[in-house]
Each structure stands twice: as structure tokens, then as C-alpha cells.
């Protein structure tokens, strides 16, 4: 990891809680990560561990009963948190952070044409810092933005990009809708892209084109990206670094090759072993994810971990530097690392 380059997006010690009828549930607990310019950071972890919540917290889009209880988020060195109420927060986020939401079916408004929905964001935020269209008359500006969208739709492999603008969301397939959202997120030429499982509905040939497009954006324009996915193949091919989360906490983070080829946290290892190419019998990790209302004491993975030592049930393991540039939160790994 390039520790020297200042992070474009800097998330420190972020915790999120949600009020439920049965009490307060801790969804995220002290999450840290930094996005360096031009790099792609993958986030994996069990379903429900708080990946989407992390993105929503950064964007200030947490649902009604959830709130960030601790921590800070900074973009380009400027804190984003605490800006919630101010209208500037919205425009900073809209202009500089592109967001690809997880659910392509719910994210588009069914009653408006796709073209109008995609144009709206550009109308507000423009198309990047070098956008010269903002001063132009309405009609010209509209034409310029439409052209940009058509170009993006072509880049994400949507057939008939010109005709697509006049269609309604239901007239697209699942994967086509997902690509509309990718184009929408890139339309304002953001510096940071937060992508929540953006290629789940895509076949692998189309996915490949999209991965290449994203990689190109980071190389040529220094865009940074956080990429949430369950697909370790995509992590391996696209990402520079990866964070593995479990029950709202980071358990392991580091360069992709290290984490994938020599995973050290037991959860990472057991998760990778469930891959259909690797698992002998189709069985998940024994046990269930703990309820965020009643997280177990000590390491949150300890009830399912085959390698517990006494420490695991008492204290919370810190995320400490370990071999090959990675950080691991595991007492056993820490004990083994110290001679």
C-alpha cells in the first residue's frame, strides 16, 4: 500500500447504530479505511455485516433510525461529517462522490424516462471540474449532457444507447438497469466512486468490459473506488487492496494478492474455502452470524471460530500490522506473529 500518498477518502473509527424495538443494534463498530488516488479497494464480508451501511454512512444517507455514533469521514482532507444538515454536504457528495446502489430495481424511478433521470444529476452537479457546459444556454447544455450520457451508456455496453434515454426503467433487463446506474454514477465525473455490488446482475463478458472501464478511470483520471462485492474473482482481478468485514468490524485488510493467497484470519480462510471451486461439500461456515443487538463478548467471530484461544472470549482483538503488508484483528494471529 502506498502509505505516503494522502488519502482521497479517509474513514476513521466509524461506528453506526440503529434503534430497534428491542434495543440499540451496533451495525458498524470502529471501521477504518483510506482510499488512495487511483486505487480500488474491495470490501467483502458476510451478507448483513454492514457493507451497504458503511457506504450510506459516508454519503450521509443512513435510514431514519440509524445514526453514526462515532468516527469521522474526510474527503480530500475536508471533514464530511457534521455537514449533514448543511446543503453544501449534498452538493459536495453529489459532485465528488459517485454512488452505485445495490438494488438496480429500486434505485430508478419507474414513472420517469431514464434519460431525464440521468440528466437530472448532471444538471445539478455538472460533469466534473473541467465542465464548460454549465454556462451554456439550456438547450445546448442539455444536448451536451445527453451526448455525454449516450457515450457512457455505450461504454457500459448498453445496446441502442440513443433509444435507451426515451425508455422507462421497466423496459430494461436487470443487468441493463445495473449498467444505467453505473453510467449515472460516472456522469458527474466524480473523484471517488462508492460501488455497492455493481456487477451482480451482469454476465461475465459484460462484467469484464465494465471492470476494464473502471480500471481505466482509476488509471487515467486518478479516480478512487470502493468496491463492495461477494465475488472473490472480481476482487482478485479488479482491486488493489481489500477489507474483509465480519459483524460490523474489519477482521483483515491488505493487498489483494496477500489476503487472497495467504489469508490469515480464520474467517477469511473459511470464507474463501466456501468458493464453489474449492469447497468439497456444499456447506457454509458452521454457526450463524451474531445478532447486532447482542454481539458476543470478545472477538465477534469467536463462537464460530475453530481456533479460539482464551483471549478471544474476553477482549476485542485490535487490527494490528501482520505479515506482507496486511492488518489482522485476531488474537491467535497476533500470538503467532510474536516469536
Amino acid at each position: 500500500m502506498t502509505a505516503s500518498a494522502p488519502a482521497l477518502l479517509d474513514v476513521r473509527n466509524l461506528s453506526v447504530a440503529v434503534d430497534t424495538d428491542e434495543g440499540v443494534a451496533s451495525i458498524l463498530d470502529g471501521v477504518n479505511f483510506q482510499l488512495a488516488p487511483g486505487s480500488i479497494h474491495g470490501v467483502v464480508g458476510e451478507s448483513g455485516c454492514g457493507k451497504s451501511t458503511l457506504i450510506k454512512a459516508i454519503l450521509g444517507l443512513l435510514p431514519a433510525r440509524s445514526r453514526a455514533t462515532e468516527g469521522s469521514v474526510a474527503l480530500n482532507g475536508k471533514p464530511l461529517f457534521g455537514l449533514e444538515q448543511a446543503s453544501t454536504a449534498h452538493s459536495v457528495r453529489g459532485r465528488q462522490i459517485g454512488f452505485i446502489p445495490q438494488d438496480p430495481f429500486l434505485a430508478l424511478n419507474p414513472v420517469f424516462r431514464v434519460g431525464d433521470q440521468l440528466l437530472e444529476a448532471m444538471w445539478w452537479h455538472g460533469a466534473g471540474s473541467d465542465d464548460t457546459n454549465r454556462e451554456k444556454p439550456r438547450a445546448q447544455r442539455r444536448r451536451a449532457y445527453s451526448e455525454r450520457i449516450v457515450e457512457l451508456l455505450r461504454a457500459v455496453q448498453l445496446p441502442d444507447p440513443e433509444l435507451a434515454l426515451a425508455r422507462y426503467p421497466h423496459q430494461f433487463s436487470g443487468g441493463q438497469r445495473q449498467r444505467l446506474l453505473i453510467a449515472a454514477a460516472l456522469a458527474c465525473a466524480p473523484q471517488v466512486v462508492l460501488a455497492d455490488e455493481p456487477t451482480t446482475a451482469l454476465d461475465v463478458t459484460t462484467q469484464l468490459q465494465i471492470l476494464k472501464l473502471l480500471r481505466q478511470l482509476t488509471r487515467e483520471r486518478g479516480v478512487s473506488m470502493m468496491f463492495v462485492t461477494h465475488d472473490f474473482g472480481v476482487v482478485a482481478q479488479l482491486c488493489d487492496t481489500v477489507t474483509v468485514m465480519y459483524a460490523g468490524q474489519t477482521v483483515e485488510t491488505g493487498p489483494v494478492a496477500t489476503v487472497m493467497e495467504q489469508p490469515s484470519h480464520p474467517y477469511t480462510r473459511m470464507l474463501l474455502a466456501c468458493h464453489p471451486e474449492r469447497s468439497v461439500e456444499l456447506k457454509g461456515i458452521p454457526g450463524a452470524v451474531p445478532s447486532p443487538l447482542r454481539p458476543p463478548a470478545g472477538c465477534r467471530f469467536n463462537p464460530r471460530c475453530p481456533e479460539v484461544i482464551p483471549d478471544c472470549e474476553s477482549g476485542r482483538p485490535k487490527l494490528l500490522p501482520a505479515s506482507a503488508g496486511r492488518h489482522v484483528a485476531c488474537f491467535r494471529c497476533h500470538a503467532e506473529a510474536v516469536p
Binding site: 430497534t20 448483513g48 449498467r179 454476465d203 461475465v204 469484464l208 482481478q237
Partner: protein, 346 residues
């Protein structure tokens, strides 16, 4: 000793649009399913794989009877169930159930999960309350969730949790044929393994037949007996899973298999992309639909639409492809590696 197929499709065509919208704008016709023919045997798992937008969901909806086919025959247990009105068609095909591609949109946002599951069983005439509760409990634990989820609303669930509820909701109905539209997308590997294990188990326990729509080739390879590869509304290759994965003959299939991201990092730049843009579904190329992106294409390919034909001597094997040049394809992959001669690199 084999009885006839449980489901049989013959030249099924489904079309969107055509005619005019209320504004008087001409709507281009999209032949989303363009002459699909295949049989599904009782108890098998058939994968439906293909480019995004190639018509998989449309085909699923047509088979279910949610969408009326323009032409062609659909038989269930040998009985013709096509050419009916939508209501009649859905009634005749009640033993076929569908697990929606989108988990969130399939759940009613105003109902708790428990209410949704209970209502599903009630609609399907399970009148005994204790029986309903028992089946819900059983299925919930089978998909790896506990009963505290019954009190929650859909927005209080993560994407993967919604997907598991969607599965539970269909499986409690004990259907005979289940169409699973992307059933594992959005699941982590651990839950995915559990759910796949559950599919296998239920399949054997209830003799279920699956049509498995998926983009995840390692899942398909693991789960399915046969694979149908679709491109632009047509089946381009069909056959038993292993032969297709080991020696695919259609250029599209080969492009697809080589685009599957491997677990060994750092190969993105070396992976060949399909050339050219995807063709418009409302102006499908003449002849072979894949020819604009295929390096093997020549004049024959634009003049004639290739039929789905057996590609090995052993016809019982059932490996078929729709390509004028499949022999070339077979030749270039004879060394067992995925030779990319058939696919134009960008």
C-alpha cells in the same frame, strides 16, 4: 427407462413492444425470445446462461405464463399449456414457481416478513395456522435465518437476507419446477454454499426440477446437469455441463468461459474482450445473431441463421450448437485450453 420431459419448449417466441404507444410514437419490436427449443427432464437442473439482456428473464416469465408467447408450443407433462389467456396459462402452470431476480422488489414493503410468508401460504390454501407456522419456521432455518426476522420489514434486511426470504417464500410452496433467477447473486460465499447445499437437498427430497438462471459460472458448473447458453434471444449451445465447460464449441460460449474472473489476482489486462458493441435487440443482425462480434464470421453467417445441431458423433450425449463453423471452434480448443481464435480481441 425414461418418461417424457416434464417441460418442453418448441420454437417459443416472445416479443415486447410493436404497435404504437399512446403518444403515437412507434415502438420498435423487441424479439426478446426468438425461437427457443429445449426439453427439461424431471429432476434435472438446467442452467440458463447468457449475456445480460439476452432474454433469460423473459423466457422465464413466458414459461410461467406471466407473459404471453407470440408463437411456439410449451408442454408441461406432455400437455399443451401454451396459446391460453394469461389467467388460464398461469393456472395451468401452477406447479412452476419463480424466484424473482430482484429480492427487494418481490417483497411488500408494508408487510413484515412473517406476514408475507404467512400470506403466501394462505393464498395457496394452507388453512391450518399451526401448519403454516411450522412450515415457515422450518424453511426460515433452512435458509439460515432465525425467527426474529419474522417481525422485521424488508428495508430492515440486508440484500442477502432479502434474497434468502425470497427463496424461503417459494420453497415453502413445494413446487415441482422452480425457476431460480440469479438465486445466489448478493449472497456471501458461506451463505451461498449453504443455499446451494439446500437446493441440492430439496431437489432430492422433493424431486424438484430447476431452471437455474445464473451469471456465476462456477456455481453453474457445480450445480447443474445441463447448460443452455443464450445470445440475443436464441439458444446458441446446449448440452451436459462438463463437456460444455471443457470443450465449448460456440465462439460466444468460449468468450463467456474465458471472461469468468479467476481467483488468481492480476489478470484483468490480459483477458480478451468481445469486439464491437452489442447489437440492437430491435434490429438483430441477419443470419447468426453473434456474427458481428465473432472472428469466425463470414458470408454464410450473415446469409443463414444456423440451426441448433448435434456437435459430436454420439447424438445421445446431447451436446448441440448453433454455429456454421463449430468444427473450427472444436479444432481450436482441442488441446483442452481455451484457445481464443474464435473471439476477436479488442
Amino acid at each position: 427407462m425414461k418418461s417424457g420431459p416434464i417441460l418442453s419448449l418448441e420454437n417459443v417466441v416472445s416479443v415486447y413492444g410493436g404497435g404504437r404507444s399512446w403518444l403515437g410514437r412507434a415502438q420498435p419490436e423487441v424479439r426478446a425470445v426468438d425461437g427457443v427449443t429445449f426439453d427439461v427432464q424431471e429432476g434435472e437442473a438446467l442452467a440458463l446462461v447468457g449475456e445480460s439482456g439476452c432474454g433469460k428473464t423473459t423466457l422465464a416469465k413466458t414459461v410461467l405464463g406471466l407473459l404471453r408467447e407470440r408463437s411456439g408450443n410449451i408442454r408441461l407433462d406432455g400437455k399443451l399449456v401454451s396459446g391460453l389467456t394469461p389467467q388460464q396459462a398461469r393456472l395451468a402452470r401452477m406447479t412452476i414457481q419463480y424466484v424473482h431476480q430482484d429480492p427487494g422488489a418481490a417483497l411488500d414493503p408494508w408487510w413484515t416478513i412473517g406476514h408475507t410468508l404467512d400470506e403466501t401460504l394462505r393464498i395457496h390454501a394452507v388453512s391450518d395456522r399451526a401448519e403454516r407456522a411450522r412450515r415457515i419456521e422450518e424453511m426460515l432455518s433452512a435458509v439460515g435465518l432465525d425467527s426474529s426476522f419474522l417481525r422485521r420489514y424488508p428495508h430492515e434486511l440486508s440484500g442477502g437476507q432479502q434474497r434468502r426470504i425470497g427463496l424461503a417464500r417459494i420453497l415453502i410452496l413445494h413446487p415441482r419446477i422452480v425457476i431460480l433467477d440469479e438465486p445466489t447473486s448478493g449472497l456471501d460465499l458461506s451463505v451461498q454454499a449453504t443455499v446451494l447445499g439446500l437446493f441440492d437437498e430439496l431437489r432430492h427430497q422433493f424431486g424438484l426440477t430447476y431452471i437455474f438462471v445464473s451469471h456465476d459460472l462456477s456455481v453453474v458448473r457445480r450445480m447443474c446437469d445441463r447448460v443452455a447458453i443464450m445470445y440475443l434471444g436464441r439458444v446458441v449451445e446446449l448440452g451436459p455441463t462438463e463437456p460444455i465447460f471443457r470443450a465449448p464449441v460456440h465462439s460466444y460460449t468460449r468468450a463467456l468461459l474465458s471472461a469468468s474472473p479467476s481467483l488468481t489476482p492480476g489478470q484483468l489486462d490480459g483477458m480478451p474482450s468481445l469486439r464491437d458493441d452489442p447489437p440492437s435487440p430491435s434490429a438483430v443482425p441477419s443470419g447468426c445473431g453473434f456474427r458481428t462480434r465473432c472472428a469466425l464470421a463470414d458470408r454464410v453467417c450473415s446469409a443463414h441463421r444456423p440451426a441448433l445441431e448435434a456437435v459430436v458423433d454420439d447424438a445421445a450425449n446431447g451436446h448441440m450448437a448453433a454455429c456454421h463453423h463449430w468444427q473450427d471452434g472444436l479444432f481450436s480448443s482441442a488441446d483442452g485450453s481455451l484457445a481464443m481464435h474464435g473471439v476477436g480481441a479488442q
